[in-house]
Amino acid sequence: MAVSMNLYAGRQRKSKVIVGLCWLATALGITILFLILGTLLWNGVGGLSLKVFTEMTPPPGSDGGLLNAIVGSLIMTVLGTLIGTPIGILAGTYMAEYGRHTRLTSVVRFINDILLSAPSIVIGLFVYTVLVAPFGGYSALAGSVALGLLVIPIVVRTTEDMLLLVPNPLREAAAALGMPRSLVIQQVAYKAARAGMITGVLLAIARISGETAPLLFTALGNQFWSMSLTEPMSSLPIVIFKFALSPYADWQKLAWTGALLVTFAVLALSITARWLGSTTGQQK
């Protein structure tokens, strides 16, 4: 009896130690999240002023803001979303509606899942070789295409998942009333899956608005105001990258402010997407 009680106490102790380590791991993860957000706020808020939103990126040693970078980021993110979303939705529609059990669908699903986590810098290299090198220059359009390519897999995935959740009797009822297949999809399935599909697009926007690597040698960056799609265009992530690695204190300060803006935008988008996703989940 004494031996087995010892054994039992030993097992309990071992379990307690490991349970303690699990608590520790979680505390560590959450501490890091708050450390990152905390330093970001601490360093970024100081530089936040009206100037950030009204003036151009400055040369070293003088005052300025991030206006051209903010506008550039907005333009390229919107264009990238406009390029990627339709393709993603159509492909997801095929997989969930027309070709649900076909071989093509399972292959596309597999490849799409790989594209979902493929290194974004490789997408940048790809766009460089097909859109920058042959046309002789960096351009905002090339940057938008690179971002669009990153949007596609996210939208494909959520569109397919959400359409698969739509109950078949809905489609059958619509078809029984004489609706053609394409209208059943557009008017019934899309409407039932709308919130989830919007969530996917929001998540995709959140992803690309912080992306730097695919823009490095497609849109390149621009010190000045430019609205031309065929010229290099500035963007927040690129400015952060360049300014943070510079030796100038005022550039570094702007980089922190830019980082705060990007993080805030990305977190706001993903929280909105999550909230939208969870409210529709509860209705079902």
């Binding site: 791991a25 529609t93 974004s120 809905l170 557009q186």
Partner: protein, 335 residues
């Protein structure tokens, strides 16, 4: 169903109040739209495959000059000299593998710990907030980790952690080479730590999801037999979900291999091969991010496209394995 009936209203007048030829016209119009929409979606699905294919082909094509000039030696040559046009991929490949593997060694135990905490130990009220917090950590753009790593984390490591590591391992033969000084703050080790922080949420999220697939009755029986929490995890939950956990780890490894911006900030960007992980190094993605836009000369650019191809193939293999493992788990769960 309001939507569908509204639609019927708009379709109906074509069939009811007009002549039969009108009706035929409307029907053929609908049929045409149907076909167009079907073809559009089909094309888009094939386009997804086309993207992957054309990425591969264009990178392979772009890297031909470098592969032709250096042959297989490109993979194991250490020189990286734009002046003499000599390029070899050993240093970046080595750096990529070392940072990713060290990152996984750190992140996997911690990620598993958090996943166990979330599924077994956490009070119900905290489960959702902590889960969301971990997922938000995954959404933070990599450049933020980079700037934080460079200005906050690297100086901290340089001052407190690295001197301690160097002092701790200096009497031990092999480890003293791996942790050779001086403490610089930035370097391969710092990059690996930042990567570990970045992939932590992925590992946690996947592991939590697969742990949730374990039927409660299995765990309950084990608890009923008097197993401790750890014994239930080790003998029931982890064996049951092993494939999924490995899949999640591979998924995170794929991310770690290709991660660019965070690494570029803190890895030190030195094109050389160093046995000490505290010294500056480089990775494939950091090399491309740093040098590509400035690269002049066909061979220089082509060498970097070849690096990109190597990275793409490497991550493709890792991610494909991850997906296959996770898919087999889905089948097992009957999804």
């Amino acid at each position: 169903m309001v939507d569908a009936s509204a639609q019927i209203e708009t379709v109906r007048p074509g069939g009811m109040s007009r002549t039969s030829s009108d009706r035929a016209a409307v029907l053929s119009g609908l049929r045409r739209n149907d076909a167009i929409f079907r073809i559009l979606t089909h094309t888009a699905a094939i386009a997804v495959l086309g993207i992957l294919g054309s990425v591969f082909v264009s990178l392979a094509f772009g890297s031909l000059p470098a592969l032709y000039a250096f042959g297989p030696g490109f993979l194991y040559s250490q020189s990286w000299n734009p002046v003499t046009d000599q390029f070899g991929a050993l240093a970046p490949i080595w750096g990529t593998l070392v940072t990713a593997i060290v990152a996984m060694l750190i992140a996997v135990p911690i990620g598993l710990g958090i996943a166990i905490f979330l599924t077994e130990l956490c009070p119900m009220a905290l489960r959702r907030p902590i889960g969301i917090a971990i997922e938000l950590l995954a959404g933070v753009p990599s450049i933020i980790y980079g700037i934080w790593g460079l200005f906050v984390f690297a100086p901290f490591l340089q001052q407190y952690v690295q001197p301690a590591l160097i002092a701790l391992f200096s009497p031990i033969p092999v480890l003293s080479t791996i942790f050779a000084g001086p403490p610089l703050g930035i370097g391969v080790f710092t990059a690996a730590l930042i990567l570990a922080i970045m992939v932590l949420p992925f590992i946690t999220a996947v592991c939590r999801d697969v742990f949730d697939t374990v039927p409660p009755v299995l765990k309950e029986s084990a608890y009923g037999l008097g197993c401790t929490t750890w014994e239930v995890m080790r003998s029931i939950v982890i064996p049951y979900t092993r494939v999924g956990v490995i899949g999640g780890v591979m998924l995170a490894l794929g991310r770690a291999l290709g991660e660019t911006m965070a690494v570029t900030f803190v890895v030190g960007n030195a094109q050389r091969f160093s046995a000490s992980i505290l010294q500056p190094g480089t990775t494939i993605s950091a090399t491309i991010a740093n040098e590509f836009a400035e690269a002049t000369g066909g061979l220089y650019q082509s060498s970097m496209i070849a690096l990109g191809l190597i990275l793409f193939v490497l991550t493709f293999i890792v991610l494909a394995c991850a997906r296959l493992l996770l898919r087999s788990l889905d089948k097992k769960a009957g999804k």
